[in-house]
Symmetry: C2
DNA sequence: CGTAGACTTCCACTGGACGGAAGGACGTAG
DNA sequence: CTACGTCCTTCCGTCCAGTGGAAGTCTACG
């Protein structure tokens, strides 16, 4: 390219992607300076690239002058085959579950050692929860995360148990040995639970979804407490999870071999 | 840049965006050659850029060698503030409507002269419909489209009525005068209907959603026929639409002034 | 009114981007 | 088996698009 390049080897494409990826859930809008810093680009370079991205609709500007991801990226992003098959097939079942319980319902897959929420239904009367579609939450503090980890390949599980387990609430379990026990228990019981481990006042139950024999996703539900109706919830979850699994069994269409790789 | 440039003025950024935008609903996966052609780039240039985008996770490759939008773009796209406020607020109401009717429920906004579907709920037992989230369908053949156009500014409506109205089924209305009459009728009645105008065997009813007095979106429902329960559906839709409108009234947070601009 | 912080514009230098060409890999028709 | 077509991949000489420091603008604040 030119002049005094600060970072030889950085291509325009990588800079462009870096700018787009600078946004995340905690930072859905950024100022020019923040964007430049997060993408690790000189201000004037960032300014030029951002101006063009904005002109093209890949970024947009709010009234206040901050930048946000543009409508064009929304269009494009929706076309990514991120578990489209599971999501599409599961959708009606999620609605049924929601209708039956009026609690927040989650569909998640494993992404590295975190639970990636690929769908969510939440009502006016549901317990408030932190997850959104696209959120990634720690596996050890969520019902779906524990289920997915319990059924994960051994190396993944080993790595997950040996990496630091952040305490999120006073009830978050951070001892690897206790989690190890829980994971074994989950395989026996067929479901996982959390009790205020992710957020206070929220408990969850989750079960695996299987395509043939392989666990491909997890289905979870968030409620204020588990005392009364854990059994009823597990039953409802299992009905839905089996239904989804059965529907998944049939179809065969072009799809990625592996899970999307982490950044 | 260099050598013999075929298209002086085309920047790397614009080429990158062109490649990403080459995908659409009808073409969610493309071969290298198709991508190059659709983005209007020389094959080798496209190849180089695509290879890097793939390396960065902005694109991905299927088993068969075709390219698809990458998981990274999914992450980014979800952060675009495409009517996030309306969508978030409306979500629980859509579920209620779905639970009450078990029919496909739609939330749409006007995008140029088409209806952009920003949310959708569809069950196992619903009438099959063509729309997906992110779909853009012609205004004159959809319930939500007619509602939005009836309440659109005069210049938009004029332009819509004077542009070609494609026949989609034998029942699609393509005479501007008849549509004009319908639009006036919609303002009086407070709802719009379609009868197999978009797809055979599917009818729809739709009502406007208002923030204060301004129509910001439309809520629609798709059913096999309207004879029996049009009144009941309109009532249910209005309850939900008013609820959404009321909830929208309150909030104030950073948001784009205008609708996302078309490509 | 000076200082600070964020944004915008300018422009001379140069190395990253360009793309034609050539070389594989695969399928299929003769 | 050879020839041809289609698609993908790699190579490399040319050169202009991209770079980023510097200077200018615009608010906001004390």
């Amino acid at each position: 390219m030119a002049g005094r390049v600060s970072k030889p080897g950085a291509t325009v494409v990588s800079r462009t992607v870096a700018l787009l990826s600078a946004f995340d859930e905690a930072h859905p809008h950024l100022t020019l300076t923040e964007l430049a810093r997060r993408a690790d680009l000189p201000l004037s370079t960032a300014h030029r690239l951002i101006a063009e991205l904005t002109r093209l609709g890949a970024l947009a500007r709010t009234d206040s002058g901050e930048y946000v991801v543009g409508p064009r990226m929304w269009d494009v992003g929706l076309l990514a085959p991120v578990q489209t098959d599971v999501r599409e097939v599961a959708s009606p079942f999620l609605h049924d579950l929601y209708a039956a319980t009026l609690a927040t319902v989650h569909l998640a897959v494993l992404d590295g050692t975190r639970a990636l929420y690929i769908d969510r239904i939440s009502g006016k009367r549901s317990v408030p929860v932190v997850s959104k579609i696209g959120s990634r939450l720690p596996w050890h503090a969520t019902g779906v995360g524990k289920v997915l980890m319990a059924h994960a390949p051994e190396d993944v599980r080993k790595r997950a148990l040996s990496s630091p387990l952040r305490r999120i609430t006073p009830y978050t379990i951070t001892q690897p040995s206790r989690l190890q026990d829980q994971l074994e228990r989950i395989l026996v019981d067929g479901y996982a639970t959390t009790v205020e481990e992710m957020s206070l006042g929220a408990c969850s139950v989750a079960v695996p979804i299987r395509r043939r024999d392989e666990v491909v996703a997890a289905l979870g539900i968030v409620v204020p407490n588990l005392r009364r109706d854990k059994g009823r919830l597990v039953a409802a979850l299992n009905v839905a999870a089996h239904g989804i699994g059965r529907s998944l069994g049939h179809q065969t269409r072009p799809r990625l071999t592996r899970l999307p790789v982490r950044r």
